[in-house]
Every structure is written in structure tokens, then in C-alpha cells.
């Protein structure tokens, strides 16, 4: 098997792929549409939608980090139409062999199971392509939509860490830590998610 990372991940309904600078306009539109429903959980939404030039810079920075192996942030698109639905990515700041998975969905893409489908697919890639030993998800204890994702995917709720994050107004907020270990992954709902994964030049990884 070629080495990763997976630039493109396909599920039955979704294309989850590395961002492109040409996605800037769609990203800006999604921020404009979803700012109000996401601002409570994503402080960076405060200044959105930023002008197009800033969005292009952001897309370049995300793809650059992806190419440089520093962080793997994907856009989530509807497979059939190519419409942007959200973002999902894994961050390598929770220890060796482990990554934290986080994401967001546009207001119009909620309640269709897209988040679960995208998250399960990325978890599969984390274990089967990247060979991780642990995947974590962190979320605000008041964010009921987010809490359902790790619960439904077989993650274990380990702890609620006090005042680990900050809301947009600077108020401290708690953080619920969920984890799934490699040895528990095969029995989790993630393992049965239908997935195809491809490397930077389209060679199949999964």
C-alpha cells in the first residue's frame, strides 16, 4: 500500500478531501450561512465571513499544512453535487500516535447523518491508513449535536476537563474528552463504515 496521508476519502454520500484554494468562495458562503449556529462553539467564527482574499489564504495554509504533514484538515462535500457541507480534521497535538478529531457542519447540512458518516470514515482512515493508537474527540458539554457523534461511534467518555477552552466572549468553557483506542476500534460502529481512501495522486489506500 502506498504511504498516506489520505487526500480524498469517499463515503456513500460524501467526498471528504484536502481543501483547495478554489474552495475559498464556497467556504466564505458556508461561514456566512452558518456563523450564527456555530459561533457558540467555534470562536473563530466571530470575524466570519472574512473577505475572499483571507479565505484564499486560509485554504492555502490548510493545504500547505496537509502537504507538509503538519495537519490534516478536510472539507466535506456532497458527493453528488460537490456542494460544501462542512469541515473535518485531525490535529496531532494530543500525544504520540494519537490525534484529535474535530469538525463543523453548515447549518443546512444538519440532521442527515452526514457528521456521523464523515467522522466514522476519518476514524477508519486514522486507524487503517495512519496506524494511530488512539483517536480523541473533544467537545463542549453543552453542545448536544457534537456530543452525539462520539457516543454513537463507540468512543468512551473519559472525563470533563474544567475550563479548558474559551468561548467567543472569553468565558472559560469545559471540555468533554472522548477516546477510541486501536484495540477497541474493530468492534466500534466506525469499522463498518463504507469508505474508499486515496493518496495525493489518486492511488487507492482503502
Amino acid at each position: 500500500m502506498p504511504p498516506g496521508p489520505a487526500y480524498t476519502i469517499l463515503t456513500p454520500r460524501l467526498t471528504v478531501r484536502c481543501w483547495e484554494p478554489a474552495d475559498a468562495q464556497a467556504f466564505m458562503d458556508a461561514c456566512a450561512e452558518s456563523r450564527d449556529h456555530l459561533l457558540r462553539w467555534l470562536p473563530w467564527m466571530k470575524d466570519e465571513p472574512l473577505p475572499l482574499d483571507d479565505q484564499v489564504r486560509r485554504m492555502r495554509a490548510l493545504r500547505g499544512a496537509f502537504d507538509a504533514g503538519q495537519g490534516f484538515i478536510h472539507g466535506i462535500f456532497e458527493r453528488e453535487s460537490g456542494a460544501l457541507l462542512g469541515g473535518i480534521g485531525s490535529h496531532a497535538d494530543v500525544g504520540p500516535g494519537a490525534r484529535e478529531l474535530g469538525g463543523w457542519m453548515a447549518a443546512g447540512a444538519l440532521r442527515r447523518g452526514y457528521t456521523l458518516e464523515a467522522a466514522a470514515a476519518v476514524v477508519r482512515v486514522c486507524f487503517e491508513v495512519d496506524g494511530l493508537v488512539r483517536v480523541e474527540m473533544h467537545c463542549d458539554p453543552h453542545n448536544e449535536v457534537s456530543l452525539r457523534v462520539p457516543a454513537r461511534l463507540g468512543f468512551v467518555r473519559e472525563a470533563t476537563l474544567r475550563a479548558r477552552d474559551f468561548l467567543e466572549d472569553g468565558t472559560p468553557s469545559d471540555s468533554v474528552v472522548w477516546s477510541l483506542f486501536a484495540e477497541d476500534y474493530p468492534a466500534s460502529p466506525c469499522a463498518s463504515q463504507e469508505v474508499e481512501a486515496y493518496d495525493a495522486i489518486g492511488r487507492r489506500l482503502l
Binding site: P2, P3, A22, Q25, M59, G64, D67, A68, A200, I201
Partner: protein
């Protein structure tokens, strides 16, 4: 400052930021022959590179481009179907400067493609990146390479002694050619027709 230019079109060439998917095209261009490059480019001794290494290198190039660290371009036929060579706007000569490097694949030698690409990138360096100085460094024994800055009106500032090594580890001299921003308008580069697009495909002024 707008930019950088991800795509630069000249009358006969397409220059653009490499993509990892270009690996097979690059392989084909290098497989056509390396003897003309071997004396001058140390990386040639590692060719042919395995596909995975090639993909990793192109990811590295695009990542550096996206992060604004260094700007390596592939030179393609106008339809993007074939790799003609490689070039780059390198940042290693310090702030306010760009160094241009270039190589041309064997089947495309002798048609002035390097000169056409370098003329366009010199304009891009000054007019889009705001470079105050554009520099070309080459081995004085590499006559084909030396012709490029000479034809384009670069000034030969001097030849530095034993500043580089050949692929065999032998010391060799390095010519330094420069064009200052104020010299561009009167140089042959100014007449180079080119069109530049940013990361999102928007035309750059």
C-alpha cells in the same frame, strides 16, 4: 501584496505550482534523458526516484508554495499535458530578493523555453512579489544556462570562487547575475508576454 502567482502563462508555456498528481508527468520528462543536466544539478544523481519519493517531493513543493516559504514551478506545454522542465522563485537570497533556477527536459532543449520562462518569472518577481532584486546563479562552465541571464539583460555582478560542489564533490565557481527592479523596464524581460493567476484562479494585475 496580491499573489503569489500560482499559474503563469507565456506564449508557448504554462508555468504553475506543482501538484502531487504531476508525478507521472515529471517521471516521463526525466526519463527522456538526464545527461545534459547531470554535470550541473546534484539531484540528478538520485534519479530515477521511486514514485513515492517523487510524490513526497511534489507535496513538499506545493506545501512550501501554499505556506509562502518557497515557490517552485513546473513548466508544462500550454495544455498541461507534458512537463517541459522546472523553474522556481526561490527565497534563499534574503528579504526583497528572488533567485530563479531552471532546467529543461531533454526533448525540449534549444527552443528558448528557459529564456521564455525566466523572462516571465522575472516580471512576476518584480511586479507581483515586489522583489527589489532578481538573481540567477549558475556555473560559468554551463554555457547553455549562462546564455539565459545574458540574453535577458541581467548584469553579471561577479563570479564567486568555489562556492558550490559538483555532484562528485569537486568545488566549482558560481556566477551571480542580477536584475534590480529599476532595470526591468529597459530589459528584454519587459517585453515578455505573460498572464498570471492567483491561487483561486483570479487574474493578477
Amino acid at each position: 501584496m496580491p499573489g503569489p502567482a500560482y499559474v503563469v502563462r507565456t506564449p508557448r508555456l504554462l508555468l504553475r505550482c506543482w501538484s502531487p498528481a504531476d508525478a507521472p508527468l515529471l517521471d516521463a520528462a526525466l526519463a527522456a534523458g538526464l545527461d545534459h543536466l547531470r554535470p550541473w544539478l546534484p539531484w540528478v544523481k538520485d534519479e530515477p526516484e521511486p514514485l513515492d519519493a517523487r510524490v513526497a517531493r511534489l507535496r513538499w513543493f506545493r506545501g512550501a508554495f501554499d505556506l509562502g516559504h518557497d515557490f517552485v514551478y513546473g513548466i508544462f506545454t500550454p495544455d498541461g499535458g507534458e512537463v517541459v522542465g522546472g523553474t522556481g522563485l526561490h527565497t534563499r537570497q534574503g528579504p526583497g530578493a528572488r533567485e530563479i533556477g531552471y532546467w529543461i527536459a531533454a526533448p525540449h532543449l534549444g527552443r528558448g523555453y528557459a529564456t521564455e520562462a525566466v523572462a516571465a518569472l522575472t516580471r512576476v518577481a518584480v511586479e507581483i512579489d515586489g522583489a527589489r532584486r532578481v538573481e540567477i546563479r549558475c556555473d560559468p562552465l554551463n554555457e547553455r544556462s549562462v546564455r539565459v541571464p545574458r540574453k535577458l539583460g541581467f548584469v553579471h555582478d561577479g563570479t564567486l570562487r568555489a562556492r558550490q560542489r559538483t555532484a562528485d564533490g569537486e568545488p566549482r565557481d558560481t556566477m551571480v547575475w542580477t536584475m534590480l527592479a529599476g532595470e526591468l523596464a529597459a530589459s528584454p524581460c519587459a517585453a515578455a508576454a505573460c498572464e498570471a493567476l492567483d491561487a483561486a484562479g483570479r487574474p493578477l494585475p
